[in-house]
């Protein structure tokens, strides 16, 4: 039973399953800790699903009492946990911020920078329609005429991008500007490789998305 080296695309180097797993685990950690929804890593998820499928087929050929079967099963459960928790975390954010996510995703789709997978986007839109209908049927359609509108802008919930997060720098990043909202004393800081900090999410959001920092 061997892990195959995987060809993710013709021009990328061969990436091992081990690397994909590590990347997926980082993505999961970031998604758990970031206030907003992050760009999806569906390629990693599908790669792992493929690995799981392959492994499960092989395990089923072994006798149930084989120790190796036990070990592999345990590992597969661990990977399934990461995948399920990762996807559920994303669904939670989609549900909570559905109005703003659907709007923003529409714009992002036009420029080809989607954060959601097609399935997730379908889910988001359906969820929004269901929510709107439910509130209309239960309450809004029964209140006095002019108040019946489902006001999207008032109902929308936005993630708090100013919330504070902990991060670890994967590589050195210089010149992060911490805006001073009350005065003019903007501060500029450097993130040395392996250093850890607590600060507001907004100035480092892009660094999370491009992998230069890891939320902890």
């Amino acid at each position: 039973m061997s892990t195959e080296d995987l060809d993710l695309s013709a021009d990328e180097e061969e990436i091992t399953a081990e690397t994909v797993l590590k990347t997926l685990q980082s993505a999961w950690q970031n998604e758990r800790l970031a206030p907003e929804i992050l760009p999806h890593r569906n390629d990693m998820v599908e790669c792992m699903l493929g690995q799981i499928q392959h492994m499960e087929r092989n395990i089923n050929k072994l006798p149930k009492t084989d120790l190796r079967a036990c070990i592999h099963k345990m590992e597969l459960n661990r990977i399934k946990y990461i995948i399920c928790n990762y996807l559920k975390t994303r669904l939670n954010k989609i549900e909570k911020y559905c109005i703003s996510i659907v709007n923003e995703e529409r714009q992002r789709t036009e420029s080809g920078t989607n954060y959601l997978t097609p399935s997730e986007f379908r889910y988001a839109q359906e969820y929004l329609v269901n929510m709107e209908n439910h509130l209309k049927n239960t309450v809004l359609n029964h209140v006095p005429g002019r108040m019946q509108t489902f006001e999207h802008n008032k109902m929308a919930v936005y993630p708090n991008l100013q919330s504070h997060v902990f991060l670890k720098a994967n590589s050195t990043v210089n010149g992060i500007v911490l805006e001073d909202m009350i005065g003019d004393q903007d501060e500029e800081i450097d993130l040395e490789e392996d250093s850890q900090h607590i600060l507001q999410y907004k100035p480092i959001a892009d660094l999370v998305k491009n992998g230069k920092v890891q939320l902890v």
């Binding site: 399953a17 120790l67 008032k154 902990f166 909202m181 850890q196 600060l199 507001q200 902890v216």
Partner: protein, 196 residues
Amino acid sequence: MDPYEIEFIGENRIVSIIPNFSYDKIYLICGEFGPFRAGLPMNVPLWLAVMLKQKQKCRLVPPDWMDLDVLENIKEEEKRSRFFTKMPNEHYMVEAKLILGAASEDIPRAAEIKTIIKDIWDIRMSKLRTSMDALMKSGGSYGRLDHLTMMEINSVKPLLPAAMDELYRIKMMTRKSTPATLNTSTFSQSGSSQNI
């Protein structure tokens, strides 16, 4: 995140075991391990080590840092320094909990080791509380905390980041010097996180 999730992450750490059985190499997705030779030490992920130990298929080899002298030095350094010492690894608490929990008989002077690790944790936690206090008093918007492990960082969530968020909100509100006028918009909240 909750502590179980951090424990889960910590379980990926590689530790050393001595199996009592022999097997060829196994090819897991997270890496190759083995071959297993009865009586010979080898490396496996912590989650696998604990599983094998509970099935009585191996002994655990104490990690280098789980030694009284090493730990005494760390403790002294932690007491002496204002800053946080760099711990032997990112998940020392998870390793300690799982190894001492499942295999204390494989660790010499396990009880003393448990005590000294707890002492180190307590010193660091106390330092962390002081740091949090200083951070809030100095305006609380940015801090550097090298060498804190994930479990320790998690122990101050959500308190510390939430407090810093509140402080920021208060600062933002004191920025507005004009009093609110009585109109219908006063009933909708402004601010970056709006709920119905």
